[in-house]
């Protein structure tokens, strides 16, 4: 896996939103929504992205399909760089997205076959061929074409609509599908069905997923690797077992500890994360998590740690505690 170039490679991706306000819409500050993140996604794997709302998960997704222009950084697909030898059109054909709101994702005036066929037709496929493809895809996502092709969005249930949205993304024959909270709005039983469908489709079509969710259980179930984001930065990224069994960042540990557990041996005993994340307009100095971290030391306030590769596995963590000789005196010294 590590020998070949990664399917998708992101380097230093940055997006700062200017804050409009005051008189005559002058800029009064910037929100550092995504602040210089780098990661790879290998072909055939599923990368889960977790974090609190406002941490930059969705912005990252939108940057990856160029729905918003990045302020910095590069995106590479199969070793081709966007804007250099990778035209935007190729990126969009290969990286498709499924949104959270299944209803808002579908034009209320289009039938399901028209919605799915739209993408192929704008990319040069004839209407008849695109319609045939739409029927094939409807079948593939478990909706009988005869019954569903001529329906409008309001006639379908949330789960059925999200299946259509998946079909629409697949109509481009993409390599990567970004699922931005794609199952979060669904009932638990429906969610499980859609997750199973996603698993089947991945195996059958050899897809690569970027799976964004705030639901840690679902991310664990779906992902091969997990990326934890905090205030526009990567807190920790690594194989799913490493993140869930041996979390190295205090933020990851706090998130996992807050997870509702069905296991009586691992009952949630404490609420380690107090308060809301700090304002991303003026992120804290040094390590961004230090304002809420139980182990914060002087070095955390002054110096950003940077991603450090833990020995042995592809497990990177953005914390002084994990970095040898970082100047952090150790957990025992500072824990309140």
């Amino acid at each position: 896996m590590s020998a070949a170039a990664p399917l998708l490679s992101v380097n230093g991706l940055t997006k700062h939103f200017p804050l409009k306000g005051g008189f005559f819409g002058r800029s009064t500050g910037t929100v550092r929504a995504v602040d210089g993140i780098s990661f790879d996604v290998a072909e055939g794997e599923t990368l889960g992205i977790v974090g609190e709302s406002g941490c930059g998960k969705s912005t990252t997704a939108r940057l990856l399909v160029d729905l918003i222009r990045p302020d910095g950084g590069e995106i590479m697909l199969s070793a081709r760089r966007l804007g250099v030898d990778l035209p935007l059109r190729d990126l969009r054909r290969n990286v498709q997205m499924v949104f959270q709101d299944s209803y808002a994702s579908l034009n209320p005036r289009l039938t399901m076959e028209e919605a799915i066929a739209f993408g192929p037709t704008v990319n040069g496929v004839s209407t008849a061929e695109a319609t045939r493809l739409a029927h094939e895809l409807l079948f593939k996502v478990g909706l009988e074409p005869k019954r569903f092709a001529g329906r409008y969005p309001h006639e379908l249930s949330g789960g059925q609509r999200q299946r259509v949205n998946i079909a629409r993304a697949l109509a481009f024959k993409p390599k990567i599908v970004i699922l931005d909270e794609a199952v979060s709005a669904l009932d638990k039983s429906v969610e499980a069905q859609v997750l199973n469908l996603l698993g089947d489709l991945k195996r059958e079509l050899g897809l690569t997923y970027i799976f964004i969710s705030h639901d840690l259980n679902v991310v664990r179930y779906m992902s091969d690797r997990v990326m934890v984001m905090y205030l526009g930065e990567i807190a920790e990224i690594g194989p799913v077992d490493a993140i869930y069994e041996r979390p190295s960042h205090p933020y990851t540990r706090a998130l996992l500890a807050a997870m509702p557990s069905m296991d009586p041996d691992h009952l949630t005993r404490e609420a380690p994360l107090a308060g809301d994340p700090p304002n991303p307009i003026n992120p804290p100095s040094g390590c961004r998590f230090h304002t809420r971290c139980r182990h914060a030391a002087t070095v955390c306030i002054s110096t950003p740690p940077g991603l450090y590769t833990l020995p042995g596995e592809r497990h990177l963590v953005n914390c002084h505690l994990a970095i040898p000789n970082s100047g952090h005196p150790g957990i025992e010294a500072v824990t309140a």
Binding site: F99, F118, G150
Partner: protein, 295 residues
């Protein structure tokens, strides 16, 4: 997992739901008030189209001998006007110019205003600022005042009247179009279409127009009644249509001094304006609820 080709080839067997517009028409047809209003409007349009065949007399032929006859005069069922012309014929012919002057400006403003508003809403940024601030300036005039200011400056005449009224109705339509488009633009299906690599023109054609033209159209139909009253009002003031053309507002004006002689004959042209205007208002209300658009 692979399905046979035959499953997908027989498109004709797909069950199709009735589309949005057929639903609107079905709901509208169940609305008796709207249907009566529509019937009246169709009647008025037919009257305008076929006036020469319907009207019993020449609307321009005057006679000093039979001026201001009352309603019910033999040969002149609705009496005669101040120049002895047949009122019934003039009212029938009047539908032509009155409808033209009332409906055309809204029609023109619908296209121009939608174009401006949708462009401003979709493109956003500086284009939006320039278009919408200009619209704000024209919006700062009460509509009657703006219509009179423009046609007062331009002078009387059918073309000047149409031009003034079109300018009056562009700003409100552009405003609605802009706000609806801005709202639609932010919805995920437009984002998804952008992610598909479709051009802006294609996205506007397939995803934006279908969702914004309906609300703009309903709003515009609500303006027709205002436009009719204003257009006839301009002629009533001596702007707009010039004598001796039969037009309801102008007829109301020239008959004003006749209210002491034949009051009910003098009031007839206004009744026509009223009937037309209320019919358009009721149809617009019916359309609004059939399309389920919040007021």
């Amino acid at each position: 997992m692979s399905a046979t080709a035959a499953t997908f080839e027989r498109l004709a067997t797909v069950e199709r739901s009735p589309g949005y517009w057929s639903g609107v028409i079905r709901r509208l047809r169940r609305d008796p008030v709207a249907m009566v209003a529509l019937a009246i409007i169709i009647g008025l349009v037919l009257m305008a189209l076929f006036s020469p065949w319907i009207a019993p007399a020449d609307p321009y032929r005057s006679s000093m001998l039979r001026r201001l006859r009352p309603i019910g005069t033999p040969g002149f069922p609705l009496g005669t006007d101040e120049l002895g012309r047949d009122m019934l014929s003039r009212l029938i012919y009047g539908a032509r110019l009155s409808l033209l002057m009332g409906v055309t400006p809204v029609f023109i403003a619908f296209f121009v205003g939608s174009f401006l508003g949708i462009t401003a809403g979709y493109v956003g940024g500086k284009v939006n600022t320039v278009v919408m601030r200009t619209v704000d300036v024209f919006f700062a005039f009460p509509s009657v005042l703006l219509a009179i200011a423009l046609s007062g400056a331009l002078g009387a005449g059918i073309f000047n009247g149409l031009l003034s009224l079109s300018i009056v109705f562009i700003p409100p339509i552009a405003r609605i179009a802009e706000s609806v488009t801005t709202a639609v633009r932010k919805i995920d299906y437009v984002e998804a279409a952008r992610a598909s690599g479709a051009s802006s023109m294609t996205i506007i054609r397939v995803h934006v127009l279908g969702n914004v033209l309906g609300p703009i159209f309903v709003y515009a139909t609500g303006l027709i009644s205002v436009s009719l009253i204003l257009a006839s009002g301009l002629s009533f003031l001596g702007l707009g249509v010039k004598p001796p053309e039969p037009e309801w507002g102008l007829m109301l004006n020239t008959l004003r001094n006749a209210i002491y002689v034949q009051p009910w004959v003098a009031a007839l042209p206004g009744l026509m304006i009223f009937i037309t205007s209320i019919s358009f208002n009721l149809l617009s209300d019916g359309l609004r609820s059939a399309m389920d658009i919040k007021a």
